[in-house]
């Protein structure tokens, strides 16, 4: 409701004036309301008064921040956070998304998907297909990859993801620490590969460049891999074994940078 003259009763029902006081107007609308206030003293007085009362109330509320710490409240906070975390995890595990994922895992033939995924790039490179055929092949392998995926987690659910991955891998999995190198985790996935469960972490830096880290249990019948750094066509990759887990890291960076990133993961 916007009007130039108001009765006192109307002012309180004027959404524009409310939003003006609460700072939720767009710049254009703000200018319109300010122009109106310049010629409407009653509305000007009302908005000034509402804002002033709000400020007084807020200042009084903020004195709560100076109250002594309350240990009982702190203990209840911890208990509530634990309960809500459990609630979140339970909701995820019982939710429709995981149900669909579980169904896709059931129909997945172990080994076939991994083979298709990891051989796809060489097949595409080795043959000269028209571009639309390459695009179709990429789509086909992407679907195969999706069927291998057991779950995907967003950054805010990373703690829950790590718990779940650790449970699936029957050992403690920690998130790679790449933050100090300017990378933030974008998502995490758990994939069923030939070798067993594979935890994949996708990171991104401020320029939007991605780095992917994978962690999987090391096969007990194979020797540990010493750190090896490889230069690919456009990407660099490093892989190694540490404490019963195989790690790999790949990204569109040079060999020196991938070595630095690998060292950060190994820390």
């Amino acid at each position: 409701m916007t009007q130039d003259t108001n009765t006192e009763q109307d002012l309180g029902l004027d959404d524009d004036l409310m939003a003006y006081v609460d700072g939720t107007l767009s710049p254009e609308k703000m200018a319109q309301v300010e122009a109106r206030l310049a010629r409407d003293p009653e509305a000007r007085a009302a908005t000034a008064s509402w804002r002033h009362h709000d400020n007084l109330i807020r200042e009084m509320a903020q004195t709560a921040d100076d109250l002594p710490a309350n240990m009982r409240i702190a203990a209840l906070e911890r208990e509530l956070a634990t309960k809500l975390q459990a609630r979140k995890r339970r909701a995820f595990l019982m939710g429709p998304a995981l149900g669909r994922i579980a169904a896709s895992v059931l129909i997945f033939t172990a080994g076939w998907g991994a083979h298709g995924l990891f051989s796809s790039s060489s097949q595409l490179r080795g043959a000269e297909y028209p571009q639309f055929v390459s695009a179709t092949l990429t789509g086909h392998y992407a679907l195969q990859y999706a069927s291998m995926q057991q779950a995907e987690f967003q950054p805010e659910d990373l703690d829950m993801a790590l718990d779940w991955m650790s449970e699936r891998m029957q050992r403690k999995i920690d998130s790679p620490k790449l933050e100090r190198l300017g990378y933030e985790v974008e998502s995490a996935r758990l994939v069923s590969a030939d070798s067993g469960p594979l935890a994949i972490f996708h990171f991104r830096d401020r320029q939007g460049d991605r780095v992917t880290v994978s962690i999987t249990p090391h096969a007990p019948d194979k020797a540990d891999y010493a750190l090896r750094v490889v230069r690919l066509d456009t990407d660099s990759m490093a892989y190694w074994t540490d404490a019963g887990l195989d790690y790999s890291i790949i990204g569109d960076v040079d060999v020196g940078q991938i070595t630095t990133l690998a060292a950060a993961v190994r820390e």
Partner: protein, 170 residues
């Protein structure tokens, strides 16, 4: 932000809100504690993915209403809220006292929207959700409440000026 950090952040908001509702630090902490105990009991009613703040404030509102009812039963009268925790030696504190006393004269349905929005910690939609009322109802109560508060405060101020005038002080 982790859930623990989120709960800590919201608890600080609950404490601020409770202090304005009760005007007494001990009563405010009691209200926050009771709210958290109920939230723990009701943790399964929270929908993951939805904002935790309106959910917690809704629990606090219900807890506060129950407490007011209990107080009313005990005193068989509208609850006498304790005096504001302010000192009278400063002008702004006098103003605050006037505003808080005026707030007490408003119906509960108008008082809570005013306080919630004054805290600037929730949007209109979230605040309406925390009070379990439609957005339109919330906006109407907020607007009417703000205007009623303004009239009460300006009436008090005008009354004081009239008294001073009669005494020849101004």
């Amino acid at each position: 932000m982790s859930l623990k950090a989120e709960v800590t952040l919201h608890t600080a908001s609950l404490r601020r809100y409770a202090l304005v509702l009760t005007r007494d630090p001990t009563a405010a902490d009691d209200l926050v504690q009771e709210t958290l105990v109920k939230a723990i009991d009701k943790a399964d009613t929270w929908q993951p993915g939805t904002n935790l703040r309106p959910w917690l404030f809704r629990i606090m509102h219900n807890t506060h209403i129950s407490e007011l009812r209990r107080a009313k039963t005990r005193s068989d009268a509208a609850p006498d809220l304790p005096e504001p925790v302010v000192q009278d030696h400063q002008h702004t504190q006098l103003e605050l006292k006037q505003v808080l006393q005026a707030l007490d004269q408003l119906p509960e349905a108008q008082r809570k929207p005013i306080i919630l929005i004054a805290l600037r910690e929730m949007s209109y939609v979230e605040a309406a959700r925390s009070l379990d009322v439609p957005l339109g109802t919330f906006m109407s109560r907020l607007g009417r409440g703000r205007e009623a508060l303004r009239k009460i405060v300006s009436g008090v101020t005008a009354g004081k000026l009239a008294v001073l005038n009669r005494k020849g002080n101004i």
